[in-house]
Amino acid sequence: MELLLLILIGVFYATGIFMMLRRSMVKLLIGIILLGNGANLLIFLLGGITRGKPPIIPEAEKALTGAYADPVPQALILTAIVISFGLQSFAIVLLKRVHVLIQSDDLNDLNTPDTSI
C-alpha cells in the first residue's frame, strides 16, 4: 500500500503546483487545497501506516501495548487539517472580495500593487 500512497502523494503535489500556476484564482485555491492534502498524507505515510490498530487504550488496560498506529503524526495532521481549513476559508472569502472589486478571475490582472481597489 505504501507504493500507492507514494504515487498518490506525488500526484497531489504535482496537481497542486500545476493548479497554483494557472491564471484563474479559483484554480489557485484548488491547488492550495490539493497541496494541503498531499502534505497531510505525506506526514501520515512517513509516520508509518498500520491497519486496524487505532491508538486507543482498550477498556480494561492502562497502557497501550503491542503494535499500534503512531499517534504523533496523527496529532500533527489533525492540527494541520484544522489550520488549513482556516487558511482555505480566508482565501475563499478574500478571492470573492477581490473578484467583486476588480471583476476578474485573472491573476495576471493583479500583477501590480497599484491596482486600484
Partner: protein
C-alpha cells in the same frame, strides 16, 4: 585632547537647538568654537617639540579599539589649519549665509565636519581613524548638498560620497590587512616597527588599498572629478573642505604612512606617477575654465597632485617641501576661495569675463586676492615663494630622473600661476563696467578673514624663519627621523632661483598674451573624461538593476511560484540524485495490498483529474469533496479514526463554503497558457516529492515519543484516546494557540464579508 576632538560633535546639535539665536544676531557665536580650539592647539605647540603627545581613553578594549589620540608635528599642522581656517570660515559664513533659513543647520554640519576632521588627523588607532574618515565623507555630503533644492547639488554631493565612500571602503580593507599583519592598530606602535611591512608578501595589497583611499579622498586623477563637482557647495564650504582640510586628508594619510609603507620603488613610482599626472592634467584644465570656483577647484587638484608627487619623491627635502607647501597652499587657496565667494556674493556672477575693475569698489578684497595670487605664483616676499623654492630644491635632488620631475613641476607651477592670476588679480584690474558701479564694500565679516590669511602669506613670506619650528616638526613626523628646517628667502644665485625666475617669467607672459578658448576643451573631450565614464557606469548599473528587478520582481504571482519551485527542484533534485541512496524494498512497500486500497486509489486519482481538468467550478469543487472523502476512508482503514472525523467535517465545510461564496462567479477562465511548461515542472516536483518520501520511508524510525504517550496517556492524563489526550492535555497550549489562529482567520473572514466597498469607491 579627547574633549577637544569631541567638542564639535557636542556643539553640532546645540547649534540646531539654538537655531533662533544663530539665525538672529548671534551668528558669530559658533566661530568661538574653532577659535577656542585653535588657541588650545597653539598652546600645545611647545609641548610637541619634545615629542608626540599621547592620550588614551578605553572604548572597546576587547577589540583593541580605544580613543587614542596622538599629537605630533604633522597632526599639529593639520589641527591648526583645521581650527584656524575654520575660525575664518565660520566668521565668513555667518555673514555669507546671513538670513539663510538653514543657517543653524549649516553650522551644525560644519562643526560636525570639523570635529571629524580633527579626529582623522589626531587618531592614533587605525580603526578610529577610519571612523572619523567616513564621518568627514558623510558631513561633506551634507555640506555639498546644502543647497538641497538644486538637483545639481544633490547629484554632485552623491557623486562625492560615492567616490570617497568607495575609497573609504578600500581603505578599511587596507587597515584591517595592516592591522592583522602587524598585530596592532596603533599608529605609534606601527611607527615603532617601521620597516617590517615593506618586506611582507602582502605589501602590494596594503599599498594599493591605502593609496585607493588616499587618492579618492585627495581627488587624484582619475578620481579627481568629484572635487570640481563639489563646488556646488556654498563657497565657505569650498574654502574650508575642498581646499584646506578634507581633501588634504588623503595627503595626510600618505604622509602618515610614509615611514610604514614608503621608501620602496612601488611607493615612489605609484605616488610620483599619480601625483604627476594629476597635477599636469588639472593645471591644464584650470587654465581652460572661466568659472572662478572651477578654476580654483582644478588648481586645488593640481596642488594636491603636487603634494602626492612630493611625498612620492620621499627625500628629506621633498618631505620638508610637502610640509611647507601644505601650509602655503592652505593659506593662499582659502583666501582665493573666500575672495571668489565675495565676488559671487556681491556681483552675482562667477564668470571671470564679467568681473573687471572691482578694485575700485572693494579694495581690501582686491588686496587679499592680489597677495594670495602672488603667493600662489611664488613671487618673492610671499610664502608661496618659499614653498616653490623648496619644491624645486626637492625635485632637483630627487634620486631618479631629477630633470624630468623638475620639468613637470615647472610646467604645473606656470599653469597654476596663470590660474591664480585669473582668480585673484584679473577681476580687480581693468576698467570697471558701468553696471558694477553701484557695488560697495561688503561687510567686514566677509573680507576680514581673507585679509588675515593674506597677511599671513605675506608675513611668513618675509620672515620664513617664523615657521622653521613647525615645518621641521612636520617633516620630522613624516620622515620619522628628526629633520631641521632652515627656511630663508635668499639662498644665493643657483638653479633653484633660476627656475623660480623662469616660472614667473613664463607665467606672466602666458597671462599677458594667452586667452584659451572657452569651453572648447570640454566639448571635444567631455565624453572621454572620467566624470562622464563614471556617469555612464552609474546609468548602466541603474539600467541593469531595473532589468534585473523587472525580470525577477515582475509582480506576477505565477512567475514567483514558478521560479521558487524551479529553484527547489534544482536544489533538492541535485541532492537526491547525488547524495541519497534510493532503493525499493519490495516487501515493505508493496506488501499487504488489498482490493479496496486499489479502489480508493483509483477513485482518488479520477477525482483529482476531474478537479483539475473540468471547466465547471461546481464539478471541480465536488471532485475536491470526493478527494477529501477518499482520504477520509484511508484514515479509517489505517487506524486514524480522529483524523477521519476531522477530515470529514472540514471537507464538508469547505465544499459548502466554496459553493455558497463562489456559486455566482463566472466560469473558469478558458486561458490555459504555458500548459506544457507548467505541467512538466509540476510533474517533476511531484516525482521529486515521491522520491523524497521513498527515501524517508527507507530510513529506520524511532518511536520513543510515541511510546511515551502510549504508556502515559492514561496514567498521567486519564484519557484513553491517545491522540485526543495529546491535543488537549500534553500539547494543550499548542491547541490553544491553534484556536487563536482560527479565531483570527474567522475575524478576517467576517470583516472581509462585511467590508462594503461600493463600486464608486473603487477608483
Amino acid at each position: 585632547m579627547l574633549i577637544a576632538v569631541l567638542l564639535g560633535f557636542v556643539f553640532a546639535p546645540l547649534w540646531n537647538l539654538l537655531g533662533r539665536w544663530i539665525k538672529g544676531s548671534f551668528s558669530w557665536l559658533p566661530a568661538l568654537l574653532p577659535a577656542g580650539l585653535f588657541l588650545y592647539f597653539a598652546s600645545l605647540y611647545p609641548v610637541t617639540q619634545n615629542g608626540p603627545l599621547l592620550t588614551s581613553t578605553p572604548w572597546i578594549p576587547s577589540m583593541g579599539v580605544n580613543l587614542d589620540f596622538r599629537l605630533d608635528g604633522l597632526s599639529l599642522l593639520f589641527a591648526l589649519l583645521i581650527t584656524g581656517i575654520g575660525t575664518g570660515v565660520f566668521i565668513y559664513a555667518s555673514y555669507y549665509l546671513k538670513g539663510h533659513r538653514h543657517l543653524d543647520r549649516f553650522f551644525a554640519y560644519i562643526s560636525f565636519f570639523m570635529a571629524s576632521m580633527l579626529g582623522v588627523v589626531l587618531a592614533d588607532n587605525l580603526l578610529l581613524l577610519i571612523i572619523f574618515w567616513e564621518l568627514t565623507s558623510i558631513s561633506s555630503y551634507f555640506l555639498i548638498g546644502f543647497d538641497h533644492e538644486a538637483a545639481k547639488s544633490r547629484r554632485n554631493a552623491l557623486q562625492a560620497l560615492v567616490i570617497t565612500g568607495l575609497g573609504g571602503f578600500l581603505l578599511l580593507a587596507g587597515f584591517v590587512l595592516i592591522g592583522t599583519v602587524a598585530e596592532s592598530f596603533s599608529i605609534a606602535q606601527l611607527l615603532g616597527t617601521a620597516g617590517s611591512l615593506q618586506n611582507h608578501p602582502l605589501y602590494g595589497w596594503m599599498l594599493a588599498l591605502v593609496c585607493a583611499g588616499a587618492f579618492t579622498k585627495s581627488a587624484q586623477f582619475p578620481f579627481h572629478f568629484w572635487l570640481p563637482g563639489a563646488m556646488a557647495a556654498p563657497t565657505p564650504v569650498s574654502a574650508y573642505l575642498h581646499s584646506a582640510t578634507m581633501v588634504k586628508a588623503g595627503v595626510y594619510l600618505l604622509a602618515r604612512f610614509t615611514p610604514m609603507l614608503g621608501g620602496t620603488d612601488y611607493w615612489q613610482y605609484t605616488l610620483i606617477s599619480f601625483g604627476g599626472i594629476t597635477m599636469l592634467y588639472s593645471a591644464f584644465h584650470a587654465m581652460h575654465r572661466k568659472d572662478l570656483k572651477e578654476i580654483l577647484a582644478y588648481s586645488t587638484v593640481a596642488a594636491l597632485g603636487m603634494l602626492v608627487f612630493l611625498l612620492g619623491i620621499g627625500t628629506q627635502q621633498a618631505l620638508l617641501a610637502a610640509g611647507v607647501f601644505i601650509l602655503t597652499h592652505a593659506l593662499y587657496k582659502a583666501t582665493l576661495f573666500l575672495v571668489a565667494g565675495m565676488l559671487d556674493h556681491e556681483t552675482g556672477t562667477r564668470h571671470i569675463e564679467k568681473l573687471r575693475g572691482l578694485r575700485k569698489v572693494m579694495w581690501p578684497v582686491a588686496i587679499a586676492g592680489g597677495i594670495a595670487a602672488l603667493s600662489s605664483a611664488g613671487v618673492p616676499l610671499t610664502y608661496g615663494f618659499i614653498g616653490k623654492d623648496l619644491i624645486y630644491d626637492a625635485t632637483l635632488k630627487a634620486i631618479n630622473w631629477p630633470w624630468v620631475l623638475t620639468a613637470v613641476a615647472l610646467v604645473t607651477n606656470i599653469l597654476v600661476l596663470y590660474a591664480g592670476f585669473q582668480a585673484g588679480i584679473r577681476p580687480f584690474t581693468g576698467p570697471l563696467p558701468d553696471h558694477h558701479r553701484t557695488l560697495h564694500l561688503p561687510n567686514a565679516r566677509l573680507w576680514l578673514p581673507a585679509c588675515v590669511l593674506a597677511l599671513l602669506c605675506l608675513a611668513f613670506g618675509i620672515l620664513p624663519a617664523l615657521t622653521n619650528g613647525l615645518a621641521g616638526a612636520v617633516a620630522s613626523a613624516i620622515a620619522n627621523t628628526p629633520v631641521d628646517a632652515h627656511l630663508a628667502i635668499w639662498h644665493g644665485f643657483n638653479t633653484v632661483l633660476a627656475l623660480s625666475g623662469l616660472t614667473l617669467l613664463a607665467g606672466f607672459l602666458l597671462y599677458g598674451w594667452f586667452a584659451p578658448p572657452e569651453g572648447k576643451l570640454q566639448q571635444r573631450w567631455e565624453h572621454l573624461s572620467p566624470e562622464s565614464l563614471y556617469r555612464k557606469a552609474g546609468q548602466g548599473f541603474t539600467w541593469f538593476a531595473g532589468k534585473y528587478t523587472r525580470l525577477l520582481h515582475n509582480g506576477n504571482l505565477r512567475s514567483y511560484v514558478f521560479s521558487i519551485i524551479t529553484f527547489i527542484i534544482l536544489l533538492l533534485g541535485t541532492k537526491i540524485l547525488t547524495g541519497v541512496h534510493l532503493y525499493f524494498d519490495r516487501r515493505a512497500v508493496v506488501g499487504g495490498l488489498r482490493l479496496y486500497d486499489v479502489v480508493i486509489f483509483v477513485v482518488t486519482l479520477a477525482a483529482i483529474w476531474k478537479s483539475i481538468s473540468t471547466n465547471s467550478r461546481i464539478t471541480a469543487v465536488a471532485s475536491l469533496g470526493v478527494v477529501g472523502y477518499c482520504i477520509c476512508l484511508l484514515f479509517v482503514i489505517y487506524s486514524a479514526p480522529d483524523l477521519a472525523m476531522t477530515q470529514f467535517t472540514i471537507d464538508t465545510l469547505t465544499v459548502v463554503l466554496f459553493v455558497l461564496v463562489l456559486f455566482r462567479l463566472p466560469r473558469f477562465l478558458r486561458i490555459n497558457d504555458k500548459l506544457w511548461q507548467d505541467g512538466i515542472l509540476a510533474a517533476l516536483f511531484g516525482g521529486l516529492i515521491s522520491l523524497i518520501a521513498l527515501g524517508a520511508l527507507n530510513e529506520p524510525t524511532t518511536k520513543e515519543t510515541s511510546e511515551f504517550y502510549a504508556e502515559n496517556a492514561y496514567l498521567l492524563a486519564k484519557g484513553k484516546n491517545i491522540v485526543n489526550v495529546m491535543l488537549v492535555d500534553f500539547r494543550g497550549f499548542d491547541t490553544m494557540i491553534e484556536i487563536t489562529v482560527l479565531s483570527i482567520a474567522a475575524l478576517g473572514v467576517y470583516s472581509l464579508m462585511k467590508l462594503r466597498i461600493s463600486s464608486d469607491n473603487k477608483e
